[in-house]
Every structure is written in structure tokens, then in C-alpha cells.
Amino acid sequence: MSCLQTIADYGLRSMGIGERLLPRADFTLCQQFTLIGSGMIWNIYFGVLALLFGFFFANALALAKAARNPLARKPAEWFIFVFRGSPLFIQFFLAYEALVLLPRNGIEIFGITAEVSWLSRAWAGALIVLFLNTAAYSAEIFYGALRSVPKGDLEAAEAYGITGWNRFRRVEWPTMMRLAWPSYTNEAIFLFHATTLVFFSGFPAFRQEGDALYYASYFVDKTFNPFVPYPIVAFYFVILTLALTGVFGAINRRLNRHLPSNERSRVKLRPQIIR
């Protein structure tokens, strides 16, 4: 079987398209590359969507945490503490156990039966957990940045008569983004790394449709040889990390384009936020 044929059969296997049975014996390098690569679709799906939704929620959380009113501040503080203070692994387990306890027949709301069984499937349940988790981590980053917006900027805005929502939209928020961006890049990278945990926690892989690490460990279980599949996963993730750094670096350059070149903050990889 040629490699192109393998790619046609297994390239989209993680989405349930193509050959149904996974290879069982005589694993070729091509098969391993293809299947693990097809698993990366899941990692990217989880990472991109969680990051996208999480970004907006994180902004709201950061503002709530910086608010004077304890009714807004306390819930945000607790939310951030719970999600940052506990392992993502436990969060996955807990969410799965909670979601499978939902009634099987759906919940009745206003006479309409809402189907809920899909919530315990990985594509929805794990995405929700990742979304809440990244929102908490990003909110802490944004909150820190919001607190370090230079006092002079705010005073200048006031001197021009810019106050309230306008001041936030035109002065505070852009500066907050600019200050937070290098840390946020790190958060994004480690969120993508965290997506590998999904199928190793409570969430089962439906019809053997798993992520990159799921297929890699499938090969290791079959061949008892960790020296090929895991480096392949590593290879894919290094590429993903480089791509992310590129995209976020471009945004960072745009955010800093008004500054003289020696004052611009650079995106630096600091492996500090695995969870």
C-alpha cells in the first residue's frame, strides 16, 4: 500500500472519515505520521475554539476582578482561583462525571425537551472545560496587565476629557492588550499542549476518534516501541508551536507598532503555565 493511499484512508480518520479499522500489524512510518497528524485536527479544534471564546470571557473576568464592587469582584476571584488552583486533569474528570449524571432523556425546559447527552461527548464537554480553564488563566494575565497600565496614560486621557467607557476602549484596553500579549502567547501555546490531556482523562474517544497523543499511545501499546510515535507527536507540536509564535508575534508587532523599536516588548517563550 502506497503512502498516498494511506493518507487517503487515514488522513481524516480522527473525524470518522475514511477507513474504519485502525491498522493492526506491520505499522509503517507513513501510517504513524498520517494517523497522528489526523489526530492533530482535534488538538487544533480544541485549542482554537477554546482560545477564541476564552479570550472574550477572560476580558470580562479581568474587568470583574478589577472592579470595586465586591458583587462582581468576589465571584471572578473565586472562579480564577478554582480553575488556576486545581489540576486540569481533575477538572476534566470532574466535568465528565458531572455531565454523565445529566438525565439521559434530556431536560425539559418550558415544555421543550432539550437533548443533553452530547454534553458528555469530548467535542463539547472537554471544549467547555478548556474554555473555562483558559479563560481563568488569561483573565489573570489580563488583570495583571490592566493593573500595570501607566498612570500617565490615564491622566492624559482625563486631561483630554476622555472618561468612562471611551477611556477604557481607547486607552486602557489597547494598552492592557499590548502589555499582556507576550504572556498571552505563552498561555495560548500551553493551552494547545493541554489539549493532549482530553482523551487521557474521563472523556472516552468515540469510535477511536482521538487526538494526536491518543493515536501515538495506540501505536506504543501495539508495538511497545515509544521511540517512533512520541517523537512524531513532538514533531507536530514543535511545528504547531512555531506557527503559533508566528501568528501571535505578528499580532504583537501590530499592537506595538506605534512604539520606538527599543521599547517594544518581545514575545519570549517561558514554559511556566502548564496546568
Binding site: G85, P87, F89, L213, P226, F237
Partner: protein, 293 residues
């Protein structure tokens, strides 16, 4: 555990809960918390040592050593840590058996990696097939500790390398001007001053290490996640008392345990930070000096 638990008629309400939570399986569950704490206690210093070594290598003037050190520190940047956890445990296990095989059975002719199998001679098995179950557990735990130490050593090496770079150059030059040798500068000036710069990163790392302990479950150690699943599940091997699916409550318990660990560590680390800032040439040290004066 309590004698009153033997009488089923008294088992109601709180009394029942007390009896349920002290069954033999539950005592095993509580012991597994000790396993996790042991892992933390053993891994933290070993990882710190690995990190220190890695940072020293990365600063070395010798090209080969520097490449090794930089490679080690760069290892964790682009690749998910869980890949390393899964990889190292099997790789170390096979590596040890391979070395034992070479040493004990030099005239074994069959290939070790034959198709889908990894087969060494019986004398090279670690631990030996005849060993008691407890040794297999200990060996599994030791492998987990080494794996954690390797991965977290790489993280720590990053932090310590950065901290060594952060020590003001003038301090080192002054020491050199007094005629200290390279080793003396390193021991007497660089290392004592480095810690205050390393502490925020290392604190962060400690919190991450706490949060990484559930991964022990993936490495096949019977840790708290394993027991929570077994005891909470309705049909598992640790099944001793018929009950519906209670895993949610067990995992809520674990969540509280981790939140408490995080909170206690944060309080303790803040104190340590204040302590170490005393008399240092940093903003925090300066603030302390002003407050006292």
C-alpha cells in the same frame, strides 16, 4: 475499623458515613495521598538538582556541554509535557532492561526488538519476575519519580538559568576585581544572589508540580485519581459496597485537596519571598529597608 461498624442495625446517618469512610479500601485511598506527598517531597529536590545542573551546563564555556544544557532546557518549550511523561516511563524501563540484558546475558542471540515485542532474557527483568508485588510497585513509583524529576528539572533549569543571568553583572565584576577565581565567584557571589531572582519562577514551578501529580495515574501508579475512580465507580474491582456512581463526590474531594495545597503553598511561598528579599538589591528588598528605617 470501628467495632460498632460490625452491627448493620446501627448503620445510619453520620454513623454510617463514618463507617463507610473507614473501610479498608478507603484507608488505602488515604494512603495514596501519602504517595502523592512523597512524590512531591522526593521530586522537588531532585528536580532542583537537575535544574541546577542543566543551568550550569547551559552557561558552560565548553561548546558541547553548552549544547547539551541548552537542549535540555529547550526540551520542554515546544512539546506537551504529558508526551514526555508517557515517553520516559517506557523508555527508561526498556533502557534499564536493555543494559541489564547486555551485562547479564552476553551470549543471548535472539533480537531484543522482534517485530511487536521487546524481549530480554529472564535474568535481565527489572524487578525480577519472582519479586514480591510490593517491589513492582516501588519500581513503578521510582520510574515515575525519575520521569517527574527529568521533566521538571528542565523547567527548573530554565528558571535558574534566567536567574543566573539576572544577577547584576557589576556584582560579578567586583568579585573578579577582588581576585576571586571563576569558581569562587560562582559559589560566593552568583549562587547566593541568584535565589531571589529564581524564587518567583520556582514558586510557580512548585504550584505546577502539585498540579501535575494526577498524571501519576497515567503512569500506572495507584494514586488518588485511581482510588477515586475505583471507589466512586459503581462497578469496579474495589467494589465493596453497592452504591450508584459517586465518582463526582470523590473528584470534588480531590479538587478541594488540590485547592488547599495551592492555597497553603501560596501563603508559605509569599513568606519565604519576604524573608529572602531581606537585604537584597531588589525593589522588594529596598521597600523592606525603607519600612524599617
Amino acid at each position: 475499623m470501628f467495632s460498632s461498624c460490625a452491627d448493620p442495625s446501627t448503620l445510619q446517618g453520620l454513623n454510617w458515613l463514618m463507617c463507610y469512610l473507614t473501610t479498608g479500601k478507603h484507608l488505602d485511598f488515604y494512603w495514596s495521598f501519602v504517595t502523592v506527598l512523597t512524590l512531591l517531597a522526593v521530586t522537588a529536590p531532585v528536580a532542583l538538582a537537575f535544574g541546577f545542573g542543566g543551568a550550569m551546563l547551559a552557561r558552560s564555556h565548553h561548546l558541547v556541554l553548552r549544547i547539551i544544557g541548552k537542549g535540555y532546557t529547550a526540551m520542554v518549550r515546544g512539546v506537551p509535557d504529558i508526551v514526555f511523561f508517557l515517553f520516559f516511563v517506557i523508555a527508561l524501563d526498556q533502557g534499564i532492561e536493555w543494559v541489564m540484558h547486555q551485562a547479564r546475558c552476553p551470549d543471548w542471540t535472539d533480537p531484543i526488538r522482534n517485530g511487536l515485542e521487546f524481549r530480554v532474557c529472564p535474568q535481565a527483568k527489572v524487578p525480577p519476575n519472582s519479586a514480591a508485588q510490593v517491589w513492582h510497585s516501588v519500581y513503578g513509583f521510582a520510574l515515575a519519580v525519575v520521569t517527574f524529576a527529568l521533566v521538571f528539572g528542565a523547567f527548573a533549569a530554565n528558571v535558574i538559568y534566567g536567574a543566573m543571568q539576572a544577577v547584576p553583572r557589576a556584582q560579578l565584576e567586583t568579585a573578579e576585581a577582588y581576585g576571586m577565581s571563576q569558581g569562587q565567584v560562582f559559589r560566593r557571589v552568583l549562587v547566593p544572589q541568584m535565589w531571589i531572582y529564581a524564587l518567583p519562577g520556582l514558586s510557580n514551578l512548585w504550584l505546577i508540580l502539585i498540579k501535575a501529580t494526577p498524571l501519576l495515574f497515567l503512569l500506572g501508579v495507584q494514586d488518588i485519581v485511581y482510588w477515586a475512580r475505583e471507589l466512586g465507580g459503581a462497578k469496579t474491582s474495589a467494589f465493596s459496597y453497592p452504591h450508584p456512581d459517586w465518582r463526582l463526590y470523590y473528584f470534588l474531594g480531590l479538587l478541594v485537596f488540590y485547592l488547599l495545597m495551592t492555597r497553603i503553598s501560596e501563603v508559605f511561598l509569599t513568606r519565604l519571598q519576604n524573608r529572602l528579599s531581606h537585604g537584597q538589591a531588589t525593589a522588594a528588598g529596598e521597600a523592606q529597608r525603607k519600612a524599617a528605617a
